[in-house]
Symmetry: D2
């Protein structure tokens, strides 16, 4: 069985294949009276869309989003949500009519070819079908709506590692993220990566990456213990993105190496008369509930499985063969995962923001 | 809002506080006609129960599980599931009637005290209440039922890192896991940890850890793309365990450092005429669907937040104070997380095993 | 697959068989800080419990409810909900150890014997097992908690028809409901029913009934179009009660016979400056959303299937036989469905009350 | 909060407003390898679409359905489902650009105008927006897919009552349903209704109706006690249709008037060696589980609220006014509810068919 909806009160259902006529999503549960236009969404779509630099796939998709339902222009001329489901659609325009016969019956290593075939008995091999990262475009669209539900919350992400090369955290500058094609907050690292990724790209290879998402301004108290904890749902949301192999919150795997004394986030009363944490090892989540400190999550993306080097595989018919994935691909698919990670965290936060209102106060 | 149910067709709802009269769970959706006795469950409870070595909390709980519904003795005298909800309960017996006045109004750093208080406005401070790791006893109980739903699947876990000290993977021997109080598969590492953890324990400190769960014999095709992927739901299940800060599947964060050539799991036809993977970087999941190879997941557990060293904090009333957590605690709470990790993976697999039957074949 | 949870934010999971050691439920999602004691629940349990008059089953069950989790005594000595799951349990005490061999292999007509057997392949024949109306005790317990979530809402029910004998609506007096063993709001009808049901009871027969539930004080705006409408969820909640064959809201089936002019609930501004409906054919629900008028729902309960007259049936082994259900039974199971109907409506309203808070205002 | 998804494993999410650019749905969880073309769906759309006789609204909509995802042409040239979400869309073409200023601020009695306004604070008044019966077109589309999941099951519906005028059940002939514009199985009743409804239509009035749905060939054992019973979910599905006020299964409200002897469906072994029921008062559901007999459900539809007679109401601004609904409307909206009722039952059955496979056998 497939399952293409996530969220509890802010629910997103996505649909569509890489090479079908369109992809889309339905955002259900968005409160009414929120100003929402296609332009609000398009800005985020543009960050993710392919073909923007030589470091991403050369597929050309304008990714122009249309709102098909759930909004209305009010008496003041402002288009607002009506509380009914918001249907968003993007037409596929650059489904290059290439010959897929070579991969039609060959399971590309690292791709979902073998498992989709085994599970469903039929597989849309054109561009990966439903398993294509193209699906994430609609997550970004949904995330743009989610942000509108979250007044005062800022959700940003950055690429913090490409292959073995991490950024220098001392150089972190959010403004830099807009200045390079990697969403890199470290100017020096970006320069180094440019050269490094050029090599990867030219050799037809690919490389993994790590993305960090930071949400600031999240109110204290969001999260639904025990099985709908904030970190649980962020982990699920990020792990559901194509090619993600690991997720961590706060100091993550490093926490395994620390003592209780080192790891504890101590508290003191702040100047504004409110409790403050003196550190944020927790990544803004304690007991599955937001602490008011920035929520910090990271996720690891494996290298793009489409590469120009031949790999051993088998066919649907059970023959040993070799396969090479020609055509357009991302040398580092982690780059375009940056806006996707932001969007997923935005959706989780919007959901919890709405769920939390059910609390007696 | 809290949310204490997980699973879709194999659904588990847990309840209970550390120092209430009992804890329990309801396992709903378990198929009928499966032999199930209290003894089947008790063996797993015993692996997790406290007080079994000096490396875990000295709270003494027999953790004797009772089945209150959902089973019946058939004509052959075998107790079997009937398809109705299985209610499991464990009475709390060692709720030491100590004086909690010291922590009643103080937020212990690293604990969920502050966030529970902020979210709910009231908090069961006795032993952590609902946020206590005691809740995980019922996950283990549910996991024991889940295993019964999974014929031919073996789910095991081991502690692979304590603080900065990792096992030597070349020494991995599953049989060793039963021979030391750490569920460590490396005899040498276990010996080293014994000494290391003695030091941690005596100093009233604590340390983090990493656990690895391996599920063998999982059929190809389990998992529900796009938002109920196998790895997504394993990540959520493991991240929902107390104190977990990171989760990874297959080569996890290491995948970020690899090229596409290195990371690809190549395939060849096996001697039995079935496709085989030549490596398992994927951890048994491709595109969110089980590949037939062992499912491998790891999770990082932070150090126990209860330590004997004073830490800075604030009170509910807004005063700066120091707090120290006396009483019984686990120097490395990661140890007892081993059977919990196994149980969570078992529940996810049972759920997907049942969901997958809805497929046309 | 069975499914023993209902509700979305106010979620109730029930468990237990008629002749097992206990029955219970977990109420998850109840907000914190609500005063709640066992006595608050017990009063409603007592209305439903068996053996209170000669018109209901003579099984003797004290139905003493215990709260096992989710509450805590606060500093003022008041026991309040903590926001964590509330586990409620009732021990079965009068599981008469009679000989069930006669019905063990015979499918009693009108009962769920045949279908449970066909679905699950095993069946707890003792007192109907999970399909027994005994399960409804825990709905009443959950409903008592739900009422606490609904300030200013009054939910009452009454028996309005027994067999072909309807009440005279002109005689409706809520106070009368407490004065007779039928929850009948019409004193004259109650007197007539007493005699009528005596005849039914003495002949070992049984009869159907209709119950009406009225919820007053429900705020405008509750309900979740299109598939979580208020009337949709009330219909589901009532239809899920044992032996219910029909549900209607407002004028119900009578609406089929009316013209648009007759059926329209006209409006005028009230003296308090708020819109008022001049009639309530809608039963307080328009477009699936509460209108502010009383919510009115009715449900039909079939006659108890356990009767002292022999009926034709077959055995598990495929033989034609006759069967008669000896032992204790309700001559009109509709009577005890009255508090159950109230409870189910309370749970639906509590759920929607919490869900609705997710609205921008 | 709105909620626009139904189903558990066979999940349908609908979106769209009466006068927006399009309406649509996403069918998620449909098994793979099922042949599915637009033509398979279009036949059912055509049964429901407006403007087919003088007894339904004169809005002209071709209701041409498009499949946007979830299918692929296989090697044999047959288009089949792939197991991924099936996105269906119908463009609105006859959104008559009339002047809505008259009803923009007036709450039409019987419509959802007041409650949508109260709940959401904004309302798409053009043709009723989301609360329009136009939404049901997508239920019919989803139902057409559901039928494909149910081999050997026949689901049909008929109009059995218009106003006070019921059919004569002795005349029931399914073939007649295709011969008149009312889906009436009784030729004589159809002739009488034609005249009767002409009078209703010409006077600008409207009238209620009752629809009966019958599903034959349903396997024994479908349904998920206690809260996902077959009859529970059918009741919810039918009550969620616009204008429905009552739902019953089997003998429904009549069961309230019967004795246990009269109501019991006796059993005997059939000639084929399988148990048979000698009557079907239960409507094919016992204990919430399908019995193998035809599933029979009825639902009552209120008269269309749009009528040409002025009714008293109020404005958003709080003034007493009168309102009359000009424009196109259905004199008996129950007629077009016939294919909708069929579709909803098909969806519920498909869902339970898939859920039931999770059973041990």
């Amino acid at each position: 069985m497939s399952h293409n909806t996530f969220g509890h009160l802010f629910r997103v259902t996505t649909w569509g294949e890489s090479h079908g006529p369109a992809i889309g999503c339905v955002v259900d549960g968005c409160p009414s009276l929120i100003p929402l236009s296609e332009a609000d969404i398009q800005g985020f779509m543009d960050k993710r869309k392919p073909g923007q630099s030589k470091y991403t796939t050369q597929r050309r998709e304008p990714d122009q989003v249309k709102i098909l339902s759930g909004v209305m222009v009010d008496d003041d001329g402002v288009q607002k949500t009506t509380g009914t489901p918001i249907s968003l659609m993007v037409e596929n325009t650059d489904q290059r009519s290439k010959d897929y016969s070579e991969i039609k019956d060959r399971f590309r290593p690292g791709h979902a070819d073998f498992t989709y075939d085994a599970k469903y008995g039929i597989r849309d091999y054109r561009g990966g079908g439903r398993s294509s990262a193209r699906e994430t475009a609609m997550r970004v669209a949904a995330g743009a709506v989610a942000r509108k539900v979250l007044p005062g919350v800022t959700i940003r992400a950055a690429l913090v590692q490409v292959g073995p090369h991490k950024i220098n955290r001392a150089n972190w500058d959010w403004a830099e993220v807009e200045n390079n094609p990697f969403f890199c907050p470290d100017k020096e690292a970006a320069a180094f990566w440019a050269e490094y990724l050029d090599g990867i790209r030219k050799s037809g290879s690919s490389i993994g990456a790590v993305i960090e998402v930071v949400a600031e301004g999240v109110p204290v108290g969001l999260g639904a213990p025990i099985y709908g904890k904030m970190d649980t749902e962020i982990a699920a949301a990020l792990m559901s993105i194509n090619a993600v192999k690991g997720v961590e919150v706060g100091n993550g795997f490093e926490a395994a190496t620390l003592t209780g004394e080192e790891n504890a986030d101590e508290m003191r009363m702040g100047e504004d008369g409110r409790p403050e944490f003196l550190s944020n090892n927790s990544g803004g989540v304690l007991g599955g509930i937001s602490s008011g400190d920035p929520i910090v999550a990271r996720f690891a993306v494996k290298p793009t499985s489409s590469i120009l080097t031949e790999r051993k595989t088998v066919t649907r018919q059970g023959e040993d063969v070799d396969v090479m994935t020609k055509g357009r691909h991302d040398p580092c698919v982690g780059i375009r995962a940056v806006p996707v990670g932001e969007a997923m965290v935005a959706c989780v936060l919007a959901d919890h923001f709405l769920r939390n209102r059910g609390q007696v106060g």
